[in-house]
């Protein structure tokens, strides 16, 4: 195993390989678009301009990016303990419930400055609680985390439908949504926040959650590589026997890592519920939890990689929406296909080209290394 990692220089592994994977995904997408009788170059141009071309589009791109950072970090933290958390979707959903309940209960009585920390804690606690049950079952009963977390996504969806349709629904309306929160529960939009400093930007759903997401990145980086808890998580993840030898209880670490993971996923609720929607509603998790798996894989489970991968997926979401808006031939379904191809190539097939790349490096780069 050691020799397989040693064959590629680090930069080729963390930069070149993901870039090649994305390029391949776009190549296949291009062929698909061409097969539909459209111009793939025009489509690419619309997509890029739609994602980065003007202030509002940038806002949307960063807004999506925020969600992907949270779910990507969630997958990464669990992955460092060698746990495959497929339940980010459900944890994000239930995390949002935590935020919503906090706001519905307290928005009449508390000012924003007190309500915000409670919302953050609520998102983390609810997300963590939703991850705790599969974690406990894995740690103490050996139930496979992949199976249980997938199940918990469905349970989360059903719970939310029940609560919104029966308990939290605003009386007298048809759609299953709660009442709107009082404005002291709203997290400021980025265009509002920047306006305080006299910077005028276009309106978009982008809000201060992005700042929290970046803080979480730094936090995860410090936790994983600079604290003994991260040390213990990585020990359990990469060599359970050595961890037991070191007096670390794997069951405890599995539960801690999964709860951290669930808590991070829960922060999607901050961005969506108090950042954008200002009410509790259905389906706001919108697949972010699943895409987080691809984000984390592509970002090599490192916060810096996750931010970059999140940006790519944010751009795809926003640019893709623009694409189907500009040219009716690009149906929303086609956009989903393109996103799916990127997930496929950079997530599921992320190591497909690795042996080829290794051979190329051995042939051309290795002798040069030796001479040097």
């Amino acid at each position: 195993m050691a020799s397989t990692t040693a064959k590629l220089p680090v930069w080729a592994d963390v930069v070149l390989l993901p870039l090649i994977n994305v390029a391949l995904a776009f190549l296949v997408s291009g062929l698909l678009i061409a097969a539909l009788g459209q111009d793939p170059f025009e489509a690419t141009w619309i997509l890029v301009r739609g994602a980065f071309g003007y202030e509002e589009s940038l806002g949307y791109t960063f807004y999506y990016t925020t969600n992907f950072i949270f779910t990507g970090l969630a997958v990464a933290v669990a992955f460092h303990a060698m746990l495959f958390n497929i339940g980010g979707e459900g944890q994000a959903y239930i995390g949002g419930l935590g935020v919503g309940l906090a706001c519905l209960a307290l928005d009449q009585s508390l000012p924003f400055i007190l309500l915000l920390p409670i919302c953050i804690v609520g998102a983390a606690l609810f997300g963590a609680a939703w991850a705790f049950i599969p974690a406990y079952l894995q740690a103490k009963r050996g139930s496979h985390i992949v199976i249980t977390t997938i199940m918990f996504n469905f349970i989360a969806a059903s719970v939310m439908v029940y609560l919104l349709a029966n308990v939290l629904i605003k009386p007298g309306q048809m759609s299953p949504e709660s009442r709107e929160f009082a404005s002291n529960a709203w997290l400021p939009f980025m265009h509002e926040a920047l306006a305080w400093f006299g910077i005028e930007v276009a309106r978009s759903p982008l809000n201060l959650s992005l700042v929290w997401a970046l803080i979480c990145c730094v936090g995860v980086w410090a936790l994983i590589w600079h604290t003994r808890w991260g040390y213990e998580i990585r020990s359990v993840g990469s060599n359970v026997d050595a961890a037991v030898y070191a007096g670390i209880a794997p069951a405890r670490i599995i539960i801690i890592a999964m709860c951290l993971s669930g808590g991070l996923a829960g922060f999607v609720g901050i961005n969506e519920i108090i950042g954008v929607q200002h009410r509790l509603l259905l389906d706001f998790s919108a697949g972010y939890g699943f895409t987080g798996i691809a984000v984390s894989l592509m970002g090599r489970n490192h916060p810096v990689g996750i931010v970059l991968a999140s940006l790519l997926f944010g751009a795809l979401y926003q640019g893709g929406a623009e694409l189907s808006f500009e040219n009716p031939a690009f149906t929303p379904d086609l956009v989903v296909v393109i996103q799916g191809l990127v997930v496929l190539f950079s997530g599921a097939l992320s190591y497909m080209l690795r042996p080829t790349l290794e051979r190329l490096f051995q042939r051309f780069a290795a002798p040069a290394l030796v001479e040097a």
């Binding site: 050691a2 040693a6 020990s235 060599n239 050595a242 070191a246 002798p367």
Partner: protein, 518 residues
Amino acid sequence: MAASGAPAIVLRGINKHFGPVHANREVSLTVPAGTIHGIVGENGAGKSTLMSILYGFYQADSGEIEVAGEARRIASPEDAIKAGIGMVHQHFMLVDVFTVLENILLGAEGGPLLAGGLAAARAEVERLERDYGLEVDPDAVVGELPVGLRQRVELLKALYRGAGILILDEPTGVLTPQEADRLFEILRSMRERGVTIILITHKLREIMAITDNVSVMRAGEIVAERATAETTREELAELMVGRPVLLRVEKTAARPAEVVLQARDLTVIDDKGVVRVDHVDFTLRAGEIVGIAGVSGNGQSELLEALSGIRPLDGGELVVHGTTITPERPRDAHHMRALNLAHVPEDRQRMGLVPAFQAWESAILGYQDDPQYTGPVFLKIGAIVGDTTAKMARFDVRPAEPLLGSANFSGGNQQKLVLAREIERQPEILLVGQPTRGVDIGAIEFIHRRLIEMRDGCCGVLLVSVELDEILSLSDRILVMFEGRIVGEVPGAEADARTIGLMMANAMPDEATVAADG
């Protein structure tokens, strides 16, 4: 073998680089057909790389390979098998739940349906077993066979594929002396039938006992070739290391003091319900080395794990510094360390360090909570790296780079890193498992001296090793384990390999003649 007189293997000018490491440098080697050829060398000398090139795991950067007089390009193990080369690995490549016959057939099924292949294979395997004296029941499930027999299955596998040239990588590591002798008989009978054997080993005794010729490798080069009859162990050891080596450990008589660890009626049952440690009683005193001899798999590993808190007790009790540990009051590895007990585990790759970690991270494994290494929140990375650098210097770990990945150190250097971590805590009890497994001769000498120093510094050392020579040369008292029980205790000064070997096979001296003849 058709080209009579042509050497079985000729290697010419083999070069192999791994990044900046020149693992094989202009290696040329000729192995005459029908001989047993030994290759010795320290870890990292390049002997495994060379054999991996011959068996097609790696490709040489340059150089030629000739098999039985024919130039060959060996790009994969399949090519090697086609050329008539077989390899028996140090760690067996067998499917435990398959029968012997199914294992032999694996990869050579000869069609989509197994029935025909199995019948043909059975006849062929029975012929091979007769011809080479490799008796093993073809219908036995491999997982239930003792190691010695599993090795025969590996030999049969290679022969079944028509191997006329066999590479054996450290074949006696897991065998009793008697089993090893039996293996050598088999190898000799193979040689008589024209099979060429290349034996990779670090045990010079074996080289002397069985090979016809020997090549010594050092730093990627073959530094000497000798006819075995014309050389000595001392000469080979010196050639391997490049300087004179002390093969025998020098030590004074032990001065045992107070009891530091006492096991009473200790019982350990594994996950499958098998009793691994069976009502074991013994004491360990400060200032002595107690060696536990035994064939691998007779409960020594489980005993070590139980003593160090990795595995819970299922019966009996353990007293360490007045703390009594029972099945009802278990202590994990963390607590045991707090009782001033250090543990060098048997398998450093699996347990002693985390291969994915950098050296400094592995160098605090088990002590990551120590205030010396961590603050309330953050690891004191600077302090740890400094501490690791100092340890690396004192224990001569090469390269002395604390930021290098743990997996990138050679076996001997990994072991020195683990020893440094455990010994420098100045423990009162030191549990050591297989301290020199896969470690080169120069490092063995160093490790043995350190263990004696620990003893002289009034530490109680419990040594578990399958290397009988190591047990004999280090121990003040020797306990022999067989099937989870302690079947004998011998004072170190009075012990000899033959008696201990027979005890290890649970054939006590009075039954010895029968066992030896049978």
